[in-house]
Every structure is written in C-alpha cells, then in structure tokens.
C-alpha cells in the first residue's frame, strides 16, 4: 500500500501494518528527557521499575535546556535529580553548558532521516527538519519509552502543502512559517502531519528548515517534513559522515488535504500578542514603539540567524533604551559566533549575549518582560505570560534587528 512519509517512518519501526488512523506500537530510536519534565520521568521509573535495567542506554539522554544554569533552587534540584539518576544508570547528560536538546541531537548526528526520537519537549517535532520523526510527550510516556524502547502512536493523517512562488531578502523562513500559520490557523494541522513541497524551499538555509518545522506545534500538528534541499543534505553529510537516506512519500500516497499557498512577493510577517497565529504584515505595524528584543530559542537561535542580526548591527548601535538580548541555541553556535567575531560586533552594538539554551523563551536565564513592555522575540510563542508580563510580538531575526536599531518597527 502506498504511504506518506510519516506512515513509512513508523512502518520501519513497527511490526504491524501501518496506516493513518491506526494505533500501533513503534520502536523509538532515541529517548531523551530535559530539565523540565525530567525529574518526573525519573520519579516514574523509580516507582514502577525500581532496580530494573534500562535497555539500549547509549540511546537515552538528558538535556538541560530550559533554565541553564538553574536560576532557582527547584530548577537546580530538578537538574541534580536527573544527573544523579543518569550517573547511576550510565546515561549521558548534555549538561547546562550544552544548549537546546533538539538542536544537540541534530548537531551530533543522532537525529537523522527516518529515525524516531521522543522527549519531554513539545517542540521535538523540529526534528522533521532532518527528516526524522520527533515527538514531545508527557513524563509517563517518556518513562515508559526509557524502560521499553517503544511507544504507541495513532498514525497521523498528512496534509500536503504546495508552496507556490518565491520570495527573497529580507523575507525569511520565519516569515514563511508565520504566513502559513496565518493561513491555516492554530488548529490547522491538529493531530496531523504536513509535507511541504515547492520551489521556494530550495533557497532556504538549514536554519530556516528548523524554523519552519519548529512552529508545527503552534499549528497543532504532530510533525512536518519539508522536502529536503541541498543545504539540509550538506548538513547531514557533515554531521553523520554518510549520505542521508531520506524517506520520500509514495507518488500515490493518500493525503487528507492538499493546500496551495502562494508565497510570491511574501512580505515580512509578525505575530501579534497573545497568539502565534495572530499574524500581520510588519508593514501594518510600522512605527510601533518597542522596549526590548530577544533573538534566540529553538526557532531562531542558529548561527545563520545570529549572522543576520550581526550584519544589520555591524558598526551601529541599538536605539537608546532598547534592550537587545541574544542567546545562541547551543554551545556550538556560541563557539561559531566567537570564531566569526560576531560576539564583538554584537557587543559593540550594545547587545547582551548569554550562554546557550532556551533563553527568554522558557522564563529562562535571560530575563522576562515587565508589564507594559513591548518585546520583539524570534521565538515561537507569544501567549500572555510566556515570556513575561509584557506584550510579545514574534518575528524574524532580521525584523528584530531592524527594530532594535530604530527602537520601533
């Protein structure tokens, strides 16, 4: 029977015949838990499986991405519970210096096409960027996956989205995904997968693939697969040392819906508070006064994103009283920023640069907004309270950098 990408990946990990709508057992290649959710995973394992060996330990990991290093005692305790459990069981920890877990999985080549990975992070579907099935789950499900190496899953249906046309600078992958979100809404992909096809994908950087996949969560979806381009292939070859074997959908695969989205002349987009799908053209909000800018998160914390910002700020200063905070997604990105002298450029422009992690996104290490403060953020959620008491607008690193320079949109 012909299959979609998700059906094929799950089929590779299941003994049962896989088709959309069916609940099946599937093998999970990589299991992780992070500082948020991790302690409960540990608690469940110790309660239900005391003194039992975990199988396939070299494919189990802890990552400390949300509040790194811990800024409160409860967070410090959470991380310590995970560390001690990991030590006792011989499990690797990517500690507080390492960065966001999903990004580490891609950088280390652990996430690759056709693999299945789960973690306690609702943006695990970001791994669709490398053609992998990534899924965030609750702590009970993850504890079970740690112990058994498998999980059950209702095979999702898939929407096929054809992107028609092309766009160019200063419009980026972030603008593209915000635009798609505007078109299909926060329930547009509820419980479903998306396969993306179209000319414009060819020009996207690997970082833009990450951005596109990361906001699947905000569309209510399971995981999305943009047709891989040369940039994704190059990244995978470099990280895994092998030619990537992508899983492609069968020609006559069954989709629950097919949508064409015209992206010709797409303009920069911005999501207004309090919802990620409340998207408008930046142009409409021109002149909006802002107080702070956050560049980072799993959605826009790659080196390409930070280069975009540095290029705009080089030799200039951010507007008076504007606080610009920059957080690389991982230690590797941070290292690259140093090598390319971006830290100096951004420092000279007046930015605050922090160690890697989720940064401002998860009430993390680089502060929150105060009441009345207007923030431009490159992250993926602008719900009330998520990044502080202020108002958060979601945009691309380029839009964010120009706003920092002018003090307004």
């Amino acid at each position: 029977m012909s299959k979609t990408i998700v059906e094929k990946i799950i089929q590779l990990h299941s003994d049962e015949e896989v088709k959309a709508g069916k609940i099946v057992w599937m093998k999970i290649d990589i299991r992780t838990a992070r500082d948020f959710g991790g302690p409960n995973v540990v608690k469940n394992i110790e309660k239900y499986y005391p003194n039992e060996q975990l199988p396939d330990k070299q494919n189990i990991f802890f990552t400390f991405d949300t509040v790194a290093p811990a800024k409160t005692i409860p967070y410090a305790n959470s991380q310590q519970i995970c560390r001690e459990f990991a030590k006792k069981n011989g499990i690797k920890v990517f500690d507080v210096d390492a960065g966001i877990g999903t990004h580490i999985l891609m950088e280390t080549g652990l996430a690759r096409p056709g693999r299945t990975l789960v973690g306690t992070d609702s943006h695990f579907n970001i791994l669709g960027a490398v053609g992998a099935f990534g899924q965030g789950m609750g702590d009970q499900d993850i504890a079970f996956a740690f112990r058994t190496g498998k999980t059950w899953f209702e095979v999702p249906e898939t929407i096929k989205i054809n992107l028609k046309g092309k766009f160019s600078y200063p419009t980026t992958g972030k603008d593209l995904v915000l635009y798609i979100l505007k078109k299909i809404g926060s329930k547009g992909a509820l419980g479903k997968c998306i396969e993306y096809y179209g000319e414009c994908l060819k020009d996207l950087s690997f970082a833009e693939y990450i951005t596109l996949c990361s906001m699947m969560t905000e569309m209510g979806g399971i995981v999305s697969f943009p047709e891989p381009n040369q940039n994704v292939k190059n990244f995978l070859i470099e990280r895994t040392g092998e030619n990537p074997e992508f899983i492609y959908a069968d020609k006559d695969a069954k989709y629950c819906d097919e949508i064409v989205i015209d992206v010709n002349d797409l303009q920069p987009q911005i999501a207004c508070p309090p919802k990620p799908d409340n998207v408008k053209d930046v142009e409409i909000l021109k002149g909006l006064k802002i107080g702070s800018v956050f560049v980072g998160s799993c959605t826009n914390g790659r080196i390409e994103d930070i280069r975009d910002v540095a290029e705009i700020l080089k030799g200039k200063k951010v507007a008076k009283e504007i606080m610009l905070r920059i957080v690389p997604a991982t230690k590797e990105v941070y290292g690259q920023m140093l090598k390319e002298n971006l830290v100096q450029i951004l420092y000279d422009a007046g930015a605050i640069i922090s160690n890697p992690g989720c940064g401002g996104c998860a009430s993390g290490q680089i502060g929150m907004t105060g009441k009345g403060e207007v923030q431009i953020s490159t992250s993926n959620r602008n719900f009330t309270g998520k990044q502080g008491a202020g108002k958060t607008y979601l945009a691309s690193p380029i839009t964010a950098a120009f706003a920092a320079l002018k003090g307004e949109l």
Binding site: E16, Y49, G138, D141, A143, F144, W152, E154
Partner: protein
Amino acid sequence: MKKKMKIQGKIWLIIDKDKNLINDIDTDMIFHNKYLAITDIEKMGQYTFDNLEGWKDFSSKAKTGDLVIVGKNFGSGSSRQQAVDCFASLGIQAILAESFGAIYKRNAINSGLPILQIKEIDLQRFNQREEIEINLVDGSTNSKYLVIEPFSKVQKDIYQAGNLFKFGKI
C-alpha cells in the same frame, strides 16, 4: 489476571435538553481545575461532571459498572489525568464516545480505562439506564443500533496488563 473482554452494564447517555449527545465536553467540565490539587483517586469520583450543565449530580447517581456514552471531541482541553481517573474512581467500566480529544485518548489508554469509539449509534433506540453488552475484541454489541470500533492491539495490551507501566514490566 486476565481482564474480561466482554463487558455489560447500564448506560448513561450524556445528553442535553434536546436529547442529543453532548459534544465538546472539555476537561474542565469533566473535572474542574479548582480540584486539581486532589491526587487521591478515591476522592476524585465525587467531582466528575461537576461542571457540566445538566449533569452536576452525576457522581451521586452513577453506579459501579456503569457505561458512559458521550458525543464528539470528548476530553479536549488540558492534559489532566484526573479527567480520566475520576471515572475509574466511580467504577465506570467504559466510556463510549463519537470521538475523543487526542491527549485524553493517550491518558485513558495509558491508564487502562476502556474508551471506545462509536462508529454508529441510533440514539432513539436506547433508553437511559438500559443494559447493554459489548465485546471489546471485535467491537460487537447486543444491539444492531450501536456499532463500535474494536480495541486496537495497543489498547488491548495495556488494558490486559492494567496500565502502561504494568505493561512495561512484561
């Protein structure tokens, strides 16, 4: 211990004033967030449907072994486990719905509470509190006016073991 794959019990048709099955019953209507601090299963039952118009007295009427029949999108909303456990607390044997919220479905299956997907139901043919019989293996019932989806293999495995964690021991 093998759990029985054939169940029988008296039904609660969760209907509105117009006698239609109620759709979109969310987790706040099932188990309101003001009771979230309750973690003891025994104590959860009394609050079941305590925020659902027309059914606030459900917990005092429900009997051990009863079956609950609801409309579409049952259990949408938050991921709270209490919205599943409160039925187990009352001794409800199974929940039959025209469809379930995705997280609710995961939580219910993981905790071993039989939830069943209705394929077809002719509501007029059923009386409140009448007794029905369901075969969880093949989905057959003792009425031709009610067709349900049989258990998937996953659901059967977890149900037989008791819950997800007990299944993980096998």
